[in-house]
Amino acid sequence: MNRRDSIKYIATGTLASGLLFSGCDWAEKKEAVVKSLWKYKYGRTPSEIEHDNLLLSQKFFSQEEMEMITQLGHFILPRNEAGNIEEAEVPEFIEFMAKDFPEFQKPLREGLTAINERAQLQFNLSFVKTDDKQKKLLIDPIAYPDAVAEALLEQSEFFTLMRNLVLTGYFTSEVGLKDLGYQGNQPNVWDGVPEDILREHQMEYDPKWTSNFLDVDKRNDVAQWDGDGNLIT
């Protein structure tokens, strides 16, 4: 779905009932928008900024739903010393995606409602009031797609979607990138795979190719060629 379609969804009101402005007053909201604008400043066109601001100023999930998303997030990816889903702003990311990609709205909302109903039925508690043991009993039957009862298939699909959003949200965050060990996105000079890793994989650079490889010390010398296209600098 492209941006135009998602705007269309909002405008036609098919899902607009969930998209209420947050209760805070205008000044507070404006401040929040300005803050998020600054936070998400990354080369947007004017129409993209307008669209993102619209989404950022709207609220799709209720407070209880947000609490459920947060608890489910921690359950899917428990915190450890490397980081947790709240540091990774996973709940905010899921709230944004529900507005940015409206196809997510129905399965997420219905999934949250259904798991809440099961919590009520089994424990006479709302999901957010259940403890870890009770959560495990609610989630185990829907957590392994290969072994799900027919009646819980939709619940399982919901849980898979939640797991995907939680993990992608975590590993694209500042803490998640660090946890993963991703070391790029910074200026550097690529001079090949580290020696010890080459050895570990029993690989080597083809000696016939060596003369073509970049000499990193000469990369700032302006290129010059002879008449046959041989580099002479």
Binding site: Q186, H201, N230
Partner: protein
């Protein structure tokens, strides 16, 4: 309609600012000609902090880089996409074509793959080789001097390989292959597939003091702020402005038609200022079309007059015909030996460090024309989608898929960098039956009639795609890997992508000597008019299994030299 007149008159008006338009802008303005460049999108400079996405982190995007806003993700540097609000196109029933447009100064050169391949001697004479399609009226020897000049002006890394149909050029040094690429090399060579360093217009070494040197962030698709990769703005138009060229840039200006006088000679263009919605006309002695193959065809077909009733330069009826895009197919594999990797910065340049050129002789095959193979994988930057189905690969080890808990974190790390992929990009046959035309029933938001596409793949492309899939599977297996997903069969067109998806669409204003069988002459001039040229990929007679940009640049330079020469002879 009321049309406001621009006061200034120009020697040349250039429609579009991508590879073809950018090169024409540079060559013509540096020859002292007064040039107007008309671009349908806004101004763009990769060094402008307001527009820059390079070096941003995934979490700088509230959607973590997802493609709900931009077709290739939130950081990709193409304003536009497959669908542009208010500027639709249609498809004839039972046919398929997806049309990608980038509306900005520099066009698609801001995000393209930088794969910079020369056409070889065989590529210009395909019909002589296999009896299918048509030969170009020019040959490699005509274009070679311009390929050489483009190499030196813009910069391309590569290695000298002495392969007849993959001509060498003036190359910068190549970056060493990444780990998964070394695995690919082993697997491919075992299958008899040639592997060599890729050829890409990225500066691994300085070529002048105006442009920087690559700092290996892997983000060429975001356009480089130090101008270390090729885009038409940073490498052609801005330098031409700095060197004193008389260039007037009209941005957010969409050309409606080429105008003609009572004698049928072109006098300039009419355009819509998108911001005000007002129509303007620009007068010029020469019109250079560089709006991209299909946009150029659309403008010419919409430029109807008493002297050109079928559209400008369309006495042959061939404008829009022979539209063809590269074939595309791909496969992904899982390499268990690449599990549990020690991580290090493996970003490298924006794309592959090695690839496979076409390596077989079609005489021994059941299809015409070849394909090259691009390879991907490695310890790349996570973006939206990373971590989806985090442990599906557990099924290969009899371990549970799905679940929750700390082990998910470990599974993601375990499999990080263990996937590799291959994409085949091949030559399709230019056929008259594949074309774009004006849809009589539909106009865009500016009231301009839109294009309707008619495109179907033929057996030649299907057989080629089938061959690709067999090759991919063999290479993955040779690497010690496991091909993932189901191998696409006949019911899925062997994985052949929808026409247009590879974004190499060419051929709509075919070049030739015979005005009845072609639209432009060997200098890309419309047969029907003396002062209108086409310097995008429209004139391509066949597209080879090479990405078109380097040939667009070389031909645009050649045509621009011709235009300068004609000005000197006072022929305009």
């Amino acid at each position: 309609m009321y049309i406001l007149k621009e006061k200034k008159e120009y020697d040349v008006v250039i429609v579009g600012s991508g590879a073809g338009g950018g090169m024409a802008t540079k060559v013509l303005s540096e020859a002292g000609l007064k040039v107007a460049v008309v671009e349908a999108g806004p101004h763009f400079d990769p060094a402008n902090p307001e527009q820059m996405t390079q070096m941003k982190q995934p979490y700088h995007s509230p959607r973590r880089g997802a493609n709900t806003s931009r077709a290739f993700g939130d950081f990709d540097m193409a304003y536009g996409g497959w669908d542009i609000e208010g500027e639709p196109y249609t498809r004839a029933e039972g046919t398929d074509f997806d049309w990608f447009r980038s509306r900005m100064l520099g066009g698609r050169t801001n995000h393209w793959g930088r794969i910079s391949l020369r056409f070889g001697p065989l590529d210009f004479k395909s019909k002589s080789r296999d009896g299918i399609g048509e030969d170009w009226p020019i040959g490699y020897e005509d274009v070679k001097p311009y390929y050489d000049k483009v190499d030196k002006l813009i910069g391309v890394f590569g290695s000298k390989e002495n392969i007849y149909n993959e001509p060498d050029g003036f190359f910068l040094p190549v970056p060493k292959p990444r780990l998964h690429e070394l695995y690919y090399k082993k697997g491919a060579e075992k299958a008899g597939v040639k592997v060599m360093p890729s050829r890409m217009s990225i500066l691994t070494k300085r070529i002048n003091q105006e442009r920087g040197v690559c700092f290996y962030c892997n983000q060429c698709s975001r356009s480089c702020q130090v101008y270390a990769d090729f885009s038409a703005g940073s490498c052609l138009i801005f330098p031409a402005q700095k060197s004193g060229g008389q260039i007037a840039l009209y941005t957010d200006s969409m050309v409606r038609e080429v105008t003609v006088d009572g004698n049928g000679k072109a006098t300039g263009v009419n355009y819509i200022d998108k911001k005000s919605g007002l129509d303007y006309s620009i007068k010029a002695k020469v019109v250079v079309m560089a709006a991209s193959s299909c946009s150029t065809a659309r403008i010419l077909l919409n430029s109807k007059s008493a002297s050109h009733p079928n559209g400008l330069g369309n006495s042959s009826g061939l404008i829009g015909k022979y539209l063809h895009d590269s074939t595309g197919g791909g496969r992904m594999g899982f390499v268990p030996n690449l599990m549990n990797r020690k991580t290090y910065n493996e970003d490298g340049v924006g794309g592959m460090h090695l690839y496979s050129p076409w390596w077989l002789d079609n005489k021994k095959l059941d299809f015409a024309r070849g394909y090259h193979i691009e390879v991907w994988g490695g310890l790349g930057a996570p973006s939206y989608g990373f971590g989806f189905n985090p442990n599906d690969l557990n099924s290969f080890f009899g371990k549970p898929v799905g679940g929750y808990g700390e082990f998910l974190r470990q599974d993601v790390k375990k499999y990080y960098g263990s996937l590799i992929g291959m994409d085949g990009r091949g030559e399709s046959i230019a056929r008259k039956e594949n074309y774009c035309e004006i849809d009589p029933n539909r106009k865009d938001q500016w009231g301009i009639p839109v294009l309707r596409f008619n495109y179907k793949w033929s057996d030649e492309e299907l057989k080629q795609a089938k061959h690709m899939q067999n090759t991919f599977e063999e290479i993955i297996t040779n690497m010690g890997g496991i091909p993932l997903g189901e191998k696409p069969g006949r019911d899925k067109n062997y994985g052949l992508q929808t026409p247009g998806r590879i974004i190499h669409e060419v051929g709509t204003t075919r070049m030739g000597d015979d005005p009845k069988k072609s639209v432009v002459n060997p200098f890309e001039k419309l047969h029907d008019l003396d002062n209108v040229f086409v310097v995008d990929a429209g004139p391509f007679v066949s597209q080879a299994d090479k990405n078109p940009t380097w040939t667009i640049l070389a031909l645009s330079w050649r045509t621009s030299d011709y235009i300068v020469d004609q000005f000197k002879q006072q022929n305009f």
